[in-house]
Structures are given as C-alpha cells and as structure tokens.
C-alpha cells in the first residue's frame, strides 16, 4: 500500500465504495482525487448549471440530503451518488401563441394540481428556494410570483426527482419567467427608441468617422471622453 497522505483525511463512500480523501475538498474534487474523471455530473463547477446534483446520507443517519457536488464539502462517513439527469417531462409551447388569461402554467402542467403540499421540493432544493410556495402560486396562476420565487433556480431537477406528485418544478418556473418577462414586466421605452434611432441611421456618420480615425486621434478621443458620475 502507498503511504497515507499527511493531510487530515475523511472517509467517503462513492456509490458505496470506500475512499479516503483530504478533509475540506468539495464532493466534486474528492471524487476526482479518488480517481474519477468526469464526463457527466460536472459542468460549470461554480453553482450555476445544475449538472452535479448529488444525493448523500451520513453514516448512522437515515436522512437523504441533496446538494451540488461543486458547492458542498465532503464529510466523514458520507455515502454519496450523483444524479446527473432527471427524466422529467418538459412541454413544448409557443410563447407568442399562449393564452395568458387562462393559467397557462396549469394548462401545460396539469400535474401541478397533484401537489400534496409535502414540501419535499423545498427541502430538496440546493439553492434553498421556496419551491412549494411557487408551486402553490402556479396553481393559482400568479405568474409574477412564480417568476420571482423561482428566479434563482439552476434547473438541476432534484425537486422533480423527489416529488411524489411528479411535478417538473424547474420547467414550470422557466415557463413562468418567460411569460412574465414577455407579457407582464413593464416595457423599456428608452430601449425601443434607441433601436429605432439605430435603424434610422442616427449614429451612422459618427460611427463611420470613429471607425476610420487613426489610432492617435482615437486615443485622444478616448482619454478625453466624458464619464458619467
């Protein structure tokens, strides 16, 4: 056997198989330390993409925990497996054709009505979102509230994997956000005006001039440009 590393270590069980890894690593780095080279179960490594969903239990405890492998430190006696894919159903839709007046969330995802208010989704969420609350708002058709409460969702799908009513919460949230952004958020008039100005060629001459300026001239313009406070 090779010499044991000098750093303090913990024992973890990757899909039941024991490995000794340095204390303080994330689950992701601990699996790599143990010799796994990822293809699945890894993405951004920064808590944005939801590719590294992980389920674990601690030795001597019955409770199953869920978290992201890239954002969670290993603990001694951690039994873990990754769940890199959830086969939750996603409905196709055309945002331009949706009937907004008739709760499109419930219309596309009638399984929302099967919610038994067990709160498992909320307890499962690695982002600590109030998932069950937005399911309730979705049933009521409160699109703005669903959009707001689901905004930080990274679409890992862990909630859907554990939901006894088989609701694809992350897809419902996505739908609500797009409807809110498209139809309910106040419009930006200044943006539309600017697009029109550009299309009408308002800035063409000055841009054309700048693009053709020699570098020395451009430098002077840059250094003397006015800066908004």
């Amino acid at each position: 056997m090779p010499d044991k590393p000098e750093t303090e270590t913990v024992e973890i069980f990757i899909m039941g198989k024991k490995y000794e890894v340095p204390k303080g690593l994330t689950i992701m780095k601990a699996m790599e330390y143990s010799g796994y080279q990822y293809i699945r179960g890894v993405g951004c490594r920064g808590g944005f993409c939801g590719a590294c969903s992980t389920i674990y239990r601690l030795e001597g405890d019955y409770k199953l925990h869920t978290d992201l492998a890239c954002q969670t430190t290993v603990q001694d006696g951690m039994y873990l497996t990754q769940l890199p894919f959830t086969p939750a159903g996603r409905e196709q839709y055309d945002l331009e054709e949706l009937d907004i007046s008739n709760n499109p969330l419930l219309d596309l995802y009638p399984e929302l009505a099967r919610c038994v208010s067990c709160n498992t989704c909320t307890k499962t969420c690695p982002q600590d979102l109030e998932v069950m609350d937005f399911v309730n708002e979705a049933i009521k058709g409160n699109i703005e509230k669903v959009a707001e409460l689901s905004f930080d969702c990274i679409q890992c799908g862990l909630c859907a994997a554990r939901c006894p009513a088989e609701i694809p919460h992350h897809h419902v949230g996505q739908l609500a956000r797009r409807i809110y952004g498209r139809y309910q958020a106040p419009e930006s008039e200044h943006l539309e005006e600017r697009v029109e100005e550009i299309n009408n060629g308002v800035f063409d001459d000055e841009l054309e001039e700048l693009v053709n300026l020699p570098e020395e001239e451009l430098r002077i313009r840059y250094e003397n440009r006015e800066i908004e406070e």
Binding site: G43, E192, R219
Partner: protein
C-alpha cells in the same frame, strides 16, 4: 436558512476566517467609515502602463513563446496554448470511415453554449429548418461559460449614451488593438439584442416605469451594464435554450467535435464528433459550420485558477487552426481581478465586477484602499497582483494563497440593508454556503483566469478565413482587442452568434454538401513533424485532468 439541512458546510458558530485573517479584518473595519466618503483616484495612462508592464501576467516574458507552425507561426502566445496548438490530431485518419455519414445537415453548430444556441436560432430565422441544424456539444446543452456570467450585459440604450460612446469604451479598453468594424458591430447591435431578449421573456432588472437599471462596469463611460440580479448569464442562457427547445433544434450532448472535415480545396464540409460515453465517432456532413466552443480557461495558463466551466479547453481554436484559420491576440488573456481566494473550496470562482460596481472596494492587509475600484480589468488585476507581490500588502490564507480584501459590507451601508442579498444573490449564496456572510465580513480575492480575449479571426459577418467556417462568441477574436470590458462577453456571443448564424444559413442555402476528408489534419501533422515536434501530445484536450497524482501514477490501460 432552513433547519434540518446541511446546506452550510461549516459550523456557523465557528469563525470562518482563521485568526491571522481576522486580525486584518479588524483593520478593514476601522477604516470602513472614512473609505465610504473618499474615492481613490483613477490612474492616468502612464500609471496604468506601469502596472500592466510590471504586474500583469501577459507581460511576463517567460510565460510566452512563439508558435512553431501554421498561419500564426512566430506569434507569441502562452506556453500552455502553444503546446495545445502544437499537439497532434487526436484522431488517426486511417481509423475512421468517412463514407458512412451519420448526420447530413445544412448548418452544424459546434458548441452548445450561448453563441452556438443563438447561431442556431438566427439560422432558423434566416430560413433554415430546425431539423436541418445540428448542435454538437461536449457537456449538456447550456453547460457553458455563458451560464456563469454574473454581472451583466452592456448596451447603449439610455438617453445620455450612444453606440459611439460604447464603441470608444470598447476600443480604448482593448488598447486600440480591436478590429474596428467588429467593435462597431458589437456596440451597434447591442440595443437590438436586448430588445430580442425582451421578446424572448428575459427578466432584466428594471425600475417600475420599465426603464432598465444600469450600472458602471470597469472602463465604461456610461452606466450601461444591464443585469438580472447576479445571475445574468444564467437568465439569458436558459431563456435562449428554452426557445431552442421549443423549436426542437437537434442537440447531441456529450459528443464534442474533435476534428473538422474538409474537401480537397480546404473548404470546411463537416466535422467528426466523438461520443465520450461510448467512444463512438459520428460523421457529420454540413453545408456550413459554426464554431462556438468558447475559450481556454481550463488550460490554466501560468497556473492560474479559473472561473471557467469544465469544458473550456480551447478545442475550437485547435480544430480551426488546423483547418487554416488565423488567430488574433492570442497573447492576451483576461484575468478577472476578483476571483475567490478563500475558502479553498471555491478558489478561482468569480466574484462579479458588479460587486465593485455596487461600491465595494479592494483593500489591503492594513485596511487601506490602494486602487480605484473600476479600472479596466487588466489594470485592476495588475494592481491587485502588485499589492500582494510587489508591495507585500496582501493577506495570506492557511494554504499559502495571497489575496486582498473586497470590502463587501460597504454595499449595504451605501445602498441600504438587503441590497446585497437582493442584487447579488449568487455571491451571497456562494459564501454563506461556506459560513461567510459578505454583508458582515469582506471577501478575500485574487485575479483568476477568466476570458480568452483573442481567438479565431472573423469579419463582421462572422466568417473566418476558411471557406465554410464561421465563428461566434469567446472562440473568435478581434472584437475586444487586448482586453475585454465587463458586460461585453454576453453581448459578444449574442451579436456574433447571431451574425455567424445568419451568414452560415445564407451559405447553406446557396451551396451543397462537399466531400469529406481529413487531409488538412494530415498536412498539419506533417508540419508538426517537420518542425521537430514529438508525438507525445494530442489535442483537442476535451476534458482537463484533475485526478489525484497517486491515482495517475498507477494508471494502466488494460481495456
């Protein structure tokens, strides 16, 4: 925080910072009130040059060498990149059968991040049937740097702003090395891109009257940084992806391209994909190919940690270069000034510039401010390195890493309690997971490898020098010159993803399928051989190697 969950990795009773760091934090706390009042002056051009020349990693000669082969022969670039470009093709041409075609499409998009997805959507608007497109991607659709951008996207849509002002910021920030027509396209298309996003349902941060909330970024002359909390990249990527899913654009995941295919004239006619899960290859024949593979952060240039996603391994540069594409500004790497330097678990991850844009300033070991908080990124990064290694005013972590404080508690003091958590939800979550409350304590930061400033040369339509090959997003170069400003990468992938998608669609409508060969790769290997480069290394790398040394020292291949 809900109870009964082990979300916080540390015992919250325990101080997350070791005593040596806590001592320094006390000094930071003492100077905070007065720092709220007075601003550090912006550097003049001479001071900026001095910081860059002495402390920015790009200016370190031993980190660079000239490339030995290809269109950019003789150009200086980082050692790690030069090694990757001078590696032999991973695929042995005699071992693949190119006569059995698995996919025959109009447009092949290589890369399933922001640029690739945008390209596919605009190719469809240009008249290509979604089923005649294929997106090939290494990880899952959307697992990309695009998903990770935090701070925002620039667009000159406010009354006091103009595409001209935006253009000047881009080209000055890029040290005047940018291709002017690309910088112009970036600035000119920006408002229309945001308008398109609004139609797709992107939830930008707005005021009640619908006007956009905008902030300054480093090197901007106007407040034109638009955001969606600090999940701007995620909000854009998931919305754009959702649109592609509704249109049923075919995506083949975990199957990156490993080589382009060309005809005998060198025109790109398709690509060879590799299913990483089954080791199979697939042959794709396409009328146009869009390269949208992103950047090279995972090459860990000069051993820097990176903010980049797992797949950012320069694959697109390698493939396009072998096919004859020219590269621009490859000597220029963006180190984001503020990467996490503590705790160890998150070292290298991005602490968005929006944190500085919201008023937090960098502070040294003694609690002193030493740099204006919104210099262009390269200057700000150089100033942080100088503080740690030139002036020895950094703070050392238990693992020996040095950094400076980013004084985040200032944000709520300036803008009211709750501002940080509302507007910087990701950063708040990232740190509280490890027991640090950024509204109470400052964060330790150090520059981290963030962005490939240069890349494959394109024209304003997104065409490369190689017939049949287009490029958009981080893989292409010329837009940002030697330094990209914050908020211009999300914009870049939208503007040039769109332009490349449209140009690729136009070409597909006018031309047919070509013959499929690997001749260009064979020729490239010959050049490497003639240059005396040994065959040890192959590329594209596809995934970085992070397995433990112990494991690798005992690795054997018996299958």
């Amino acid at each position: 925080m809900k109870t009964g969950k082990s979300k916080s990795n540390e015992n919250t009773e325990e101080d997350p910072y070791p005593e040596s760091m806590r001592e320094s934090i006390k000094k930071v706390e003492k100077t905070r009130e007065e720092r709220l009042e007075e601003e550090v002056d912006m550097m003049n051009p001479e001071e900026r040059d001095e910081v860059l020349n002495n402390f920015h990693p790009d200016y370190k000669e031993e980190g660079m060498r000239p490339l030995k082969v290809g269109p950019n022969k003789g150009d200086e670039m980082p050692l790690e990149l030069a090694d990757t470009l001078e590696a032999y093709p991973a695929v042995e041409p005699s071992k693949v059968d190119l006569t059995k075609v698995d996919y025959e499409v109009d447009v092949l998009v290589i890369g399933g991040g922001g640029a690739g997805t945008v390209a596919s959507l605009w190719a469809i608007k240009e008249g290509i049937n979604p089923s005649d497109i294929l997106i090939s991607t290494k990880l899952r659709h959307g697992d990309a740097n695009s998903m990770m951008a935090q701070g925002g996207i620039q667009a000159a849509d406010k009354e006091n702003d103009s595409p001209t002002a935006h253009f000047l910021d881009v080209i000055g920030g890029g040290h005047f090395a940018n291709k002017p027509e690309l910088a112009r396209a970036l600035a000119e298309d920006a408002p229309e891109i945001l308008n398109w996003h609004e139609d797709l349902g992107v939830m930008y941060d707005k005021n009640e009257d619908g006007s956009m909330q905008t902030l300054h970024g480093g090197g901007t002359s106007r407040k034109r940084l638009h955001s969606a909390k600090d999940y701007t990249g995620m909000e854009l990527m998931r919305t754009i992806r959702d649109k592609a899913r509704n249109l049923e654009v075919p995506v083949v995941e975990f199957s990156p391209a490993i080589e382009l295919l060309t005809d005998s004239d060198g025109t790109v006619t398709g690509a060879l994909l590799y299913n990483m899960e089954t080791d199979q290859y697939y042959v794709v024949r396409a009328k146009s190919v869009v390269m949208a593979t992103g950047g090279f952060g995972r090459l860990h240039i000069q051993d820097f940690p990176t903010t980049n996603h797992y797949g950012a391994t320069a694959d697109g540069l390698v493939m396009a270069y072998r096919a004859g594409a020219n590269l621009l500004d490859m000597d220029s790497v963006q180190y984001h000034p503020t990467g996490a330097a503590f705790p160890e678990q998150i070292v290298g991850l991005l602490v968005t510039e929006k944190v500085r844009g919201s008023g937090a300033i960098p502070v040294n070991r003694e609690g002193e401010a030493f740099v204006y908080n919104l210099e262009p990124r390269d200057v700000e990064a150089g100033a942080l390195i100088r503080e740690c290694y030139g002036r020895n005013n950094g703070i050392e972590t238990p693992t020996g890493m040095k950094g400076v404080w980013l004084d985040t508690p200032m944000i709520d003091m300036l803008h009211g309690e709750g501002t940080f958590e509302d507007n910087l939800a990701y950063i708040h979550r990232l740190y509280t997971r490890f027991g640090i409350d950024p509204t109470e304590d400052p964060l330790l930061v150090f520059p981290t490898l963030h962005y490939q400033n240069g890349g494959i040369e394109i024209n304003k339509e997104g065409k490369t020098a190689v017939e049949g090959l287009f490029a958009g997003g981080e893989v292409e170069g010329g837009v940002h010159g030697k330094n990209r400003l914050m908020g211009n990468s999300l914009l870049d992938y939208n503007v040039f993803g769109k332009r490349a998608g449209i140009a690729a669609a136009k070409r597909a409508k006018e031309s047919g399928w070509g013959e499929l060969t690997l001749e260009h790769a064979v020729k490239y290997a010959d050049q490497l051989d003639k240059a005396g480069i040994d065959e040890e290394k192959t590329s594209p790398m596809l995934v970085p190697e992070y397995r433990g040394e112990e494991t690798l020292s005992r690795s054997i291949d018996v299958l």
